[in-house]
Symmetry: C2
Subunit: 212 residues, 2 copies
């Protein structure tokens, strides 16, 4: 073994993600991590100030991955705002299932990741995709003419809630296996349904609109 490991930081992050996926965040131990990798118990300290710092780094990376994942899904869905939005929402939930370690770290209440400029831009894109969809749905007259900002938050909260419930061991009545994708599709469609533009959803009172 080389005295200088070389890319210990990345190895630590990857192994930490694996441990979290298998045993949860609480089970993550810096010393166990070091043992697994084959370095001394104090080696991680060179890269992460303390345990919380490692989790924060993990959350930062997770945020980048999540946003890249959902934005890629939206882009792959084409140009229709409603379809793009729908793909975004479904991708969010799927990310939480495919990369539970990152997702749990991101949403852990006691891990606050720093948001760099790149992340802020990604969030802007996220915001715009939902805004565009909400506007189109409102123009078609089948989404309530509430503040578009509200729709963005509402929509984000809902996908978050779906992800939370699917990842919650207490929830037993939720579909798993092959039915799960269809379930996710239905849930996201309940926010904004891209296949029902001719239908009306709630509130045709156009002058109530508050988005600026």
């Amino acid at each position: 073994m080389t005295y200088h490991h070389g890319n210990l930081r990345k190895v630590l992050l990857d192994r930490a993600a694996a441990v979290i996926a298998e045993e949860g965040i609480e089970a993550l131990s810096l010393r166990a991590l070091a043992r697994d990798i084959g370095v001394s118990h104090a080696a991680p300290a060179r890269h992460f100030k303390d345990r919380a710092d490692l989790l924060r780094a993990l959350a930062t990376e997770g945020n980048h991955r999540l946003l890249a994942y959902v934005l890629a899904a939206a882009d792959a869905a084409g140009t229709d705002p409603l379809v793009r939005y729908n793909a975004l929402g479904q991708a969010y939930v799927r990310f939480s299932l495919e990369f539970p370690a990152y997702y749990r770290t991101i949403t852990h209440p006691e891990v606050a990741a720093e948001a760099d400029e790149e992340l802020r831009q990604s969030r802007e894109s996220w915001h715009r995709i939902i805004t565009d969809a909400a506007r189109k749905a409102q123009d078609a007259g089948w989404l309530p003419d509430e503040d578009v900002e509200d729709i963005v938050i509402f929509s984000t909260a809902t996908v978050r809630g779906i992800a939370a419930m699917l990842g919650d061991p207490m929830q037993e009545r939720l579909p798993g296996g092959p039915e799960r994708d269809a379930f996710i599709e239905r849930m996201v469609r309940l926010i904004i349904d891209p296949a029902a533009p001719q239908k009306s959803r709630n509130g045709n009172d156009r002058n109530k609109r508050k988005n600026k």
Copy 2:
């Protein structure tokens, strides 16, 4: 001090809730708890097998409190299914803000509380309130005629997501202070709007209904 403390179990739970509210779950230490209360470091072990056991008990109590809280709010709201539902949803979010320690414990991914019969009945009530509201909204023709079960899950996920976002330090653009109640009201209204029964929401195609 009496050798026999008497109600150490309850004191431990209460103090634990206070610590969690102030410093988070990770900061909870059985020994520190014992020190605070003025009891030996091994005393908690008589009431809780280990740290996870205490958290589980806390989550169980939290679940009972949460359900009592939201069901009381629904009952106080009267008999109209839509109004009852609305009160339930808002109460859920408010609970997460008023009792963050219980809420965080309940939703902590690594704390699985046991569900006794009483809790199961409360959940049934919860379920029925949402079902009734969804049915009425569908009969009025302004909620998509999806499976009612889906509406229940969707609705639960959304309030959970709103609570999660309001409790998330990463979210900065969310209203706090006096505007927060109005915000919660708007969010829950976006699921089912009790004040808009004359409007249509999505899908009047009655024969598409799937609830059994």
